[in-house]
Symmetry: C3
Subunit: 391 residues, 3 copies
């Protein structure tokens, strides 16, 4: 667990989870739970429990279900079923100690809690992050002429971000084309032509390079912080194409406009750190990675991610999706990993304790509060009327 004043401070810190998803509200059977435990799939003969994240769940989540540490997977699943999804979700969300959730609502929203529900179960507040690919695909599904696509998409995105509680937009360009794109804003003609092809095929998954570029430039027009998935994800990723340094030319072109938040980043956390050190607008987190590597390796990943990163550029996210365990595990791995590396430096007199506490508070929440314009920390864990999210 680690010990010392930095550990204590981080353990008590109410976090801002600047990028996460909702949690599944239905009860999950073994197959359903296991499929959510991995970025792969549940394969015959290879349980997702036999992995670093599975070990971390059995170690750190079992006690919250009244089981011994390292309980067998079977016991874990049985107890989870016995308690039911509502109670399980409540326990892990409360344990996460997260005050603010910024929730990407654009992926499988039907089976997940809405931001308001998530925040309520956790005793926190929720804001919304609008996934631009979902907006674009809805525009296509709604019917639009190719030459009206760009403007209709822009208007729909603008409407989406004007809803109360929206603090950022997000793109999953990483999944669709990767970042080795022409960085320039595409011409109207090119966009119309690409939209024509896409719409002629019935719309659907937006993966045309011209339309992805147009989406990224529309984000610039919207003026809100842009969250970008980079690095680690499921098998749809081509990992070598989502090294965020491929965005360098685009970052030069968009300098002085919107903040860009590099999500996840692993195994390119050093590349992301470089961008955050040389571009004013670039921030990063190592969400998703933290619960997959678990507390045993979170410190090592964070140490690389922070080698040259300015301390105002590091954010916390869980990128939790589906299972409530990940909100708890992500928060735990972040707290223990960051506390471990900061306390070690304090102990070696490489860092003063006040500086360590300041860095912890910045990364755990203040950087995100400043960036998204969120109100300061609320110490009341169940504020009756601070949920700005409306749906």
């Amino acid at each position: 667990m680690g010990a010392g004043p930095v550990h204590e401070a981080l353990a008590a810190l109410r976090l801002v989870d600047h990028h996460c998803h909702g949690v599944v509200t239905a009860d999950l059977d073994r197959a359903g739970f296991e499929s959510l435990l991995t970025e792969g799939e549940a394969w015959p003969g290879i349980s997702p429990f036999d992995s670093p994240v599975g070990v971390a769940v059995r170690r750190h989540c079992a006690p919250l279900l009244d089981l011994p540490r390292h309980a067998p997977a079977e016991d874990y699943l049985a107890r989870r079923a016995e308690l039911g999804a509502r109670e399980v979700n409540r326990r892990f969300l409360a344990a996460a100690g997260t005050e603010v959730f910024c929730v990407d609502t654009g992926f499988t929203p039907d089976r997940l809690t809405a931001p308001r529900e998530l925040a309520k179960a956790a005793g926190g507040r929720a804001y919304e992050v609008v996934r631009l690919e979902a907006v674009a695909e809805a525009v296509a599904a709604g019917g639009v002429e190719p030459d009206a696509y760009a403007e209709t998409f822009r208007a729909a995105a603008l409407e989406a971000v004007r809803r109360p509680g929206v603090v950022a937009v997000k793109s999953v360009a990483a999944y669709r084309t990767g970042f080795d794109l022409d960085p320039a804003r595409p011409s109207d003609t090119d966009v119309t032509e690409a939209a024509r092809r896409w719409l002629a095929e019935g719309g659907g998954r937006l993966a045309d390079p011209v339309l992805v570029r147009q989406l990224l430039w529309t984000a610039v027009d919207l003026g809100l912080p842009l969250q970008l998935h980079t690095g680690f994800g499921d098998a749809d990723i081509r990992l070598h194409r989502v090294d965020p340094t491929h965005l360098t030319d685009w970052l030069h072109l968009t300098a002085g406009t919107i903040p860009v938040l590099l999500l996840h980043c692993w195994p390119y956390q050093r590349q992301a750190a470089y961008l955050s050190a040389v571009f004013e607008q670039v921030y990063l987190d190592v969400g998703l990675t933290l619960h997959h590597v678990g507390p045993a390796r979170a410190g090592a990943v964070l140490a690389e991610a922070t080698e040259i990163t300015p301390f105002r550029k590091l954010l916390y996210s869980s990128d939790a999706y589906g299972v409530a365990e990940f909100y708890h595990l992500g928060a735990l791995a972040f707290r223990q990993g960051l506390a471990g590396l900061l306390q070690e430096r304090v102990d070696a007199d490489e860092l003063s304790l006040p500086d360590a506490l300041r860095i912890a508070a910045w990364a755990g929440g203040d950087n995100a509060r400043r960036l998204y314009g969120l109100p300061p920390t609320d110490t009341d864990p169940h504020p009756p009327s601070t949920d700005r999210h409306s749906d």
Copy 2:
């Protein structure tokens, strides 16, 4: 050395070395030994002993030749010559504690032990891995018409893998083209045309991108596990082209067919881990790297390689070639490195001891036994009739 029950368990484990080569049977002079000690060459004024692997040899191999730890290179070479190749090979192979060797027989077989000899010297069993480039190049050398090349190669490969004791095939596509290939199976016309060009030049080293693709797809047809060199190797490698994530599209196309074993991987061990986490058919090892970095860094490399890797996906290999020291060093670095990281987690209560022992047994042998269909551990170190290999 490290201590604790995980160290003890790994020290006692009879390993499956799922990818190695034979050992040179002739006595080696200084130049001959030094040239085998490095993936580079022996350069004037820079002894390969002055490197991490050289330090590891002097530390961990000298005592097996009755010398003090850290003996000077000169003493080491003199004692090695005095004992003679047969005795030196016997000592290191026995010390490796390896029960099963899967031997790539396709590279310079004339100067190396055959699998049977290797196993005999080590008191273990040997199986064979067929290097497909060697089969293809033998087909070309034997004379074939371009339009018959694909079928003749397929038939020769099929014949090769039907020999008793063959458990896998291997490709060194990494050395020939790298992985930035069109992932689709090439058309018959394209293969014939490429074969025409290659054969017109007299065959030889197969490095045509179309023929390399055809070779990889032939591996799919053969149905055996495919070992793929990735990452670190000699100067023939273009390292940035052998990041295994360049294989992602090909892995999608071949999902559900054959297991794919990513060998070596360094410095792309995290990229390989990602593939093993999201593709059912992908496995990895960090062989070759382990003896080159030595026990001092093997734990650090393994820690990265296992950050997200499912525990049933990690294998052990030495990739030892030529000098018997590497069988011992590879095994030692694997045992100590893996034990160190597992024991540390047990000590921090991040992992239970039974889980740690299970993970060690899986990675050290059971995963390979399952994958290659090998019989379970044999506790008799000198089984008279268990060598299935025939030649």
Copy 3:
């Protein structure tokens, strides 16, 4: 700080800093100092002091200005101004314990100390490194016909390197094109044509791929060691294009000619290590990185950089530029980082103490002395006449 005989030996070692720049001679105000503290810029609301390098300056540089460790940035800047640039520079340069500086004189020479001044303030000797891009751009600025450009540049470079005290040339091709270049020497026709385009635009920043190739091949003709910026730098870098393994084909073509020194390398230190292990002519350092990550992470970066690097291939550089703090911090981070990893191996009996001391002496100076043909260590810290540099 760490303790033990390896720490003591490295602390006492007079270093060869084989790649650095001059120090600003003028007094610096807060904005001026902060802008030199970062590879980015000084951004509103984000002080460069709030970064790993800022923490390292407050920890390790404040005491040399008679302030407590971890002094606030304000106090640091006030005291720095009070002492004045000359005294501040003198203190940090003396503290660096560097005997030899190899100074790149081709970037903003007007505001920096010349090599002779730098060495005098430090009580050491200075040599010069000629930046070839500066030579080429001066040739263009001086007026030249396109078909005479290649020969005029070659003659100017030859004249530059014949000046007394010049020991190497340097290229910043990393900043101009990256390394994904055709490796072959360009034809005279191609060079003339490229020069025609460049000169027609008025010369200036040399970034044409053909002319950059021609520059690298001119370096081969000059016969001196070539320093190449790789990896980490400011926002002009496209990091994914400066992975040094993209140079592999060029290294094959130029094998047997000049030594090639890969500077900085981070985050590609393992890729650089691979090249140093398989190409006789390749050497590396992790300068620039060391002071940016600070002593807290220098050991981790060095551990990766030395995983497979032959011990005669690792050099020390600070890549200090502008602020004198970086000469001290770079040297401190190198000494502590290398001592930490070597002492740890000695303590674990993975390395003998004599070997550790030999490796430290090689990396800290002897490798550079051998490579550049420098005279052996001078124990008189203020030699009256050993400054071979002339200007």
